[in-house]
């Protein structure tokens, strides 16, 4: 049986119904476990004090914010090439999740920046490119919203996702170039090897796993909703015709 079988909505519904509880339970376990371990069970950093505890939210959220976009890009390509409805709907379902993670990364970063750099916000390349990423998410979601016909919306957002990915990469590069040598020195680039000791590293790993699982849970859940909503709209349209 080919993997593509699961791109059939019915197969997907059956599979996801069985898988969802386990993924959800695992994500709750990892998240609560990892965060509790990090919050209660790790010492303060000698330089950053207790703020180092923010890392357990900040880094996983930042990673997943980017990965969510990558997943949407992959799903869009699958839709545009193989026309599997589930992948289009999964991309749609993932966007708000990605946006939320981006906002978490931004918020925790800002709250961290206040004690560390003495400012909520600085136009550091990394921060700036995250802000731009948030804008891409917003535009993508707005386009889904604005188009009535679901297949048309899937096609258009797919094209936007591909073109947007290219420009997001370009922006990342441009932002790096723009702020080169003008602002923010070493205090910004906290190197993992240098700063993150094992005590911090293990709970962080658990938290990352938790965020990955949370992402999976939410995407599965929301994709199921989107599939139902597609069928609902089709039924309503038929009612109107008949």
């Amino acid at each position: 049986m080919s993997l593509w079988e699961y791109a059939n909505p019915q197969k997907f519904m059956q599979l996801s119904r069985r898988v969802l509880p386990f993924v959800a339970a695992a994500s709750v376990l990892c998240l609560l476990g990892g965060l509790a371990w990090g919050f209660f069970g790790t010492p303060d950093d000698y330089k950053q004090g207790s703020t180092v505890k923010i890392i357990y939210l900040h880094v996983p959220a930042a990673m997943m914010a980017i990965n969510a976009w990558v997943m949407m890009l992959a799903a869009s390509l699958v839709w545009l090439i193989r026309r599997h409805h589930v992948s289009a709907l999964a991309a749609k379902a993932a966007a708000p999740v990605g946006l939320t993670f981006t906002l978490i990364a931004l918020a925790t970063g800002a709250l961290w920046g206040q004690p560390m750099w003495g400012t909520w916000w600085a136009w550091d390349p990394r921060l700036t490119s995250f802000l731009i990423l948030a804008l891409f998410y917003l535009g993508y979601m707005a386009l889904w919203q604005a188009v009535d016909d679901p297949d048309t919306a899937a096609d258009l957002t797919g094209v936007l996702c591909i073109v947007g990915s290219v420009f997001a990469l370009l922006s990342r590069y441009a932002v790096n170039f723009w702020n080169q040598g003008l602002h923010q020195g070493a205090s910004l680039s906290l190197d993992k090897e240098e700063n993150v000791a094992d005590v911090f590293w293990f709970p962080l790993l658990v938290c990352i796993a938790g965020f990955v699982l949370l992402f999976l849970t939410l995407v599965l859940l929301r994709t199921r909703t989107e599939i139902r909503s597609r069928r609902l709209n089709a039924l309503l349209a038929r009612e109107r015709m008949g």
């Binding site: 409805h85 599939i227 597609r230 069928r231 089709a234 349209a237």
Partner: protein, 210 residues
């Protein structure tokens, strides 16, 4: 240029509206499509003109043989009659603006801006566009809307000339054009609501999975 349509199904807004449509249109012939409002005439013509994909079935003539005229005329209000027509002539690489103006009785209006034309005159200009395309298969969606009787007769003459030159025409209309033409009633091809209606969509979303 023959146009053969076989077992065609067309969809609008995700729902198949017509299915199993089949006919042949030979040079020198005109075919009139009939059916009540909303049955899918416009959808069918757009599919044949290549503007949207068919759900099923095949269309033999390439889109390059077809000149399509829609409900809207595609006129630019601030351009004059000649400028509007010359633009389309240039796009289609022909050079027949003068004869087209004459045949649709637009010579007197040639330097008038399209904004200052009456609805019927606008329509005449829209139909004159067909003459400058130089294409053999005309696909027309209610071509005589808002034309008065004299203009309908004028259009009939133009159409007969086109057919005599070996062209052909597929026309959706509610009124009698006074042409010798075959008629295709679309009623029998109305798609069944329910099973299989959504094409690929139904194959995926059709069953209960609540």
């Amino acid at each position: 240029m023959d146009l053969h349509v076989t077992d065609l199904a067309v969809a609008r807004g995700g729902l198949t509206v017509l299915e199993g449509v089949g006919f042949s249109l030979l040079p020198g012939r005109a075919l009139v499509l009939r059916g009540p409002n909303g049955i899918g005439k416009t959808t069918l013509l757009r599919t044949i003109a290549g503007l949207q994909p068919a759900v099923a079935g095949s269309i033999s003539a390439g889109a390059e043989a077809i000149a399509y005229a829609a409900h809207a005329d595609g006129l630019k209000a601030t351009l004059t009659v000649t400028e509007n027509l010359a633009f389309w002539a240039a796009i289609y690489g022909t050079d027949q603006v003068g004869p087209a103006l004459e045949q649709m009785n637009l010579v007197e209006l040639r330097d008038r801006q399209a904004a200052n034309l009456s609805a019927g005159q606008k329509r005449r200009l829209g139909l004159a566009r067909l003459l400058v395309t130089g294409r053999p298969v005309w696909v027309l969606d209610e071509p005589t809307v808002s034309l008065d009787l004299a203009s309908v007769a004028l259009f009939g003459d133009v159409m007969r000339g086109h057919l005599a030159r070996g062209g052909s025409a597929l026309i959706a209309t509610h009124i009698d054009l006074g042409l010798e033409a075959d008629v295709l009633e679309l009623g029998p091809y109305r798609a069944q609501i329910g099973a299989g209606n959504g094409g690929a969509f139904d194959a995926a979303f059709g069953e209960d999975f609540a």
